[in-house]
Amino acid sequence: MSIQPAGQPDSETNAFTSSQRIEQMPTTDQEQSVTVNNSEGLHARPADQFVRLAMQFDSEITVCKHGVDAVDGKSILSILTLCATRGTELVIRAQGDDAEDAVCQLSKLVELGFDE
């Protein structure tokens, strides 16, 4: 008995990776550059803290590494894919009514090396 391979193109895989990146932000209400300071980098636990804080704000929040990969700041999976190790420079942007507060608090969290 033999089976022909189905030969289904894996188009979904690519579709999803591109959709998770937010290509452009029209206007930036607030933004700030920060350096990742903690020893582990933006790994699971720090990323969790970051996302939990970000979610307390109504503003849309993005995080950008090397000025290219802007990802949703409220998505832990997207943050993790940034692969932000110690010393990585990140730009945190927020757009919305509480943008200023959001950028300020999130930057502080990163720069203070989370709770380590």
């Binding site: 391979p5 999803f16 790994h43 699971a44 969790d48 409220k74 999976l77 894919t81 190790t85």
Partner: protein, 580 residues
Amino acid sequence: MQILEGIAVSPGVAIGEVVVIDNEGFRIPARFVTQDAVAGEILRLDQAIASVSVEIAKNRDKISDRLGEHYGAIFAAHLQMLQDPTLHSAVEAMIREKNHSAEYAVSKTLRGYAKVFQDLDDQYLSERAHDIFDLEKSLLGKLLRRRRESLNNLSTPLIVLAHNLTPSETAKLDPRFVLGFATEIGGPGSHTAIVAKGLEIPAVVGMGQFLTDISGGDVVIVDGDHGQVILNPDEPTLARYRTEVEHHRSQAAEWSVLRDLPAMTTDGTEIQLGANIEFPHEVATCLERGADLIGLYRTEFLYLGTDDEPTEEDHYVAYTHVIKTMNPRPVVIRTLDLGADKMGQLPLHEEESNPFLGVRSIRLSLRNLDLFRIQLRAALRASALGKVRIMFPMITTLDELRQAKMLLIDTMEDLNEDQIEFDENVEVGMMVEVPAAVMMLDKLLREVDFISIGTNDLIQYCLAVDRSNSALANLYRASDPAVLRLIQTTLNLANAAKVPVNLCGDMSTTPRYIPLLLGLGLRSMSLPPSAIPEIKQVCRSFNIKQCGEIAKRAMLLDSAREVDTFLTQEIRQVMPDLAP
């Protein structure tokens, strides 16, 4: 279109959409759902996420209490991943825009993330891929469990494709909704095959690996006559098979005319045709198909599909129904014929490396006398209601037969003491299915009222072939000259001793073997009720002299292949319309 070959175990043709059950018995999710089902899929997704979230939160709290916040935070991160809005919208988009099932969308999306992590140039992060797989497993577990439950109450007719179906799973299939099935493993003599035949569901087993490329909802044809499964058939093939389904239907109508005619050869020799059944409800079909008796009432299903030992009353109720419905026609009750490995009720003493050569059947009964006594008592009580015969399976030695009969006499005495009615003259017989029993048959025949040749096991034990091993299906053949010699010896000895001899087993369902068996002196067969009309037609088409000549020539041949070729030629000459 793809045509896959397997082993035909239950005749008929089925055309329909498929459901797939994988290794663990889970249903492999359909890749696509209908537009109407999209909202439901998203609801299922949300429910699954919610219920996995609760579990993770519980773990987080437990670990935090035991090991501290720092460890609990690992689960907090998992929870965060599970509730990730980007993830959710990606999965939802796949369901909404591409009509994917929730399972498929979850799996595809999470695996996409896992791949991204694995490719990251960071040891720690690439290991996060395991977390993702973990989440996938939990979510699929939830999603599939709901599906799996729904498999037991199907509401539209479908074809079931599975790695394996256990006999009890097969038994639970509802013939109204299961049009046919095909499995990756299994052989022609497996219990699953027997059950499929009993339920009259077209089935093909021993396909080898074929499930990976099939999605739920694909259209397939299960051809139980030729042992083929056709995936995504093209229009001409579909049309051809639809004609065949029609043909089966009209043939069934034709055969119903045969019901009231005797299974008599053209020279006037009467052949007794009994029915094999597993479930009491099959008796109705037996009468419909014109069975002269229940030649084999398998009682295993009282023990399968339940964790509790069946009570005397369970046995009695089942037997009563069969006996009363068949009365005055006889019912042959065969005592438990199972391996301990198939029963939930008995503790396994040790792992058996060769269950077919292990503690099974009469050996099991004689080692669990309490269990055995319950069955014998119920069978004896039922004998007061009609014509009951009791048959012991897998007798290998005279001692086994004597022990079993002794216990039966003990049980009779108990019933007498309790003043419970039973038939004092109940006939007692044995299966001849171990070559040793054939060798000792002259002695065994003196101690029984009847015998029944069980070809399924006789072939297996004669040829040393595990009947459920699909790799050896080619060796497992009723037409092997060695098997035929055992049958010939048995018939000669039994006929000379004037002990009634019956043959049950799949051999008697194959038309080409019928003239041979009649020629060897067989006058009584027991078969699945569905096969009775066709076999009756065969009996009515030959005369005994002709059969004798066919048998004489067949017994001179060297191999199963030669025998099969010869017998096929012979039957085609007489019955050219018969399916091969």
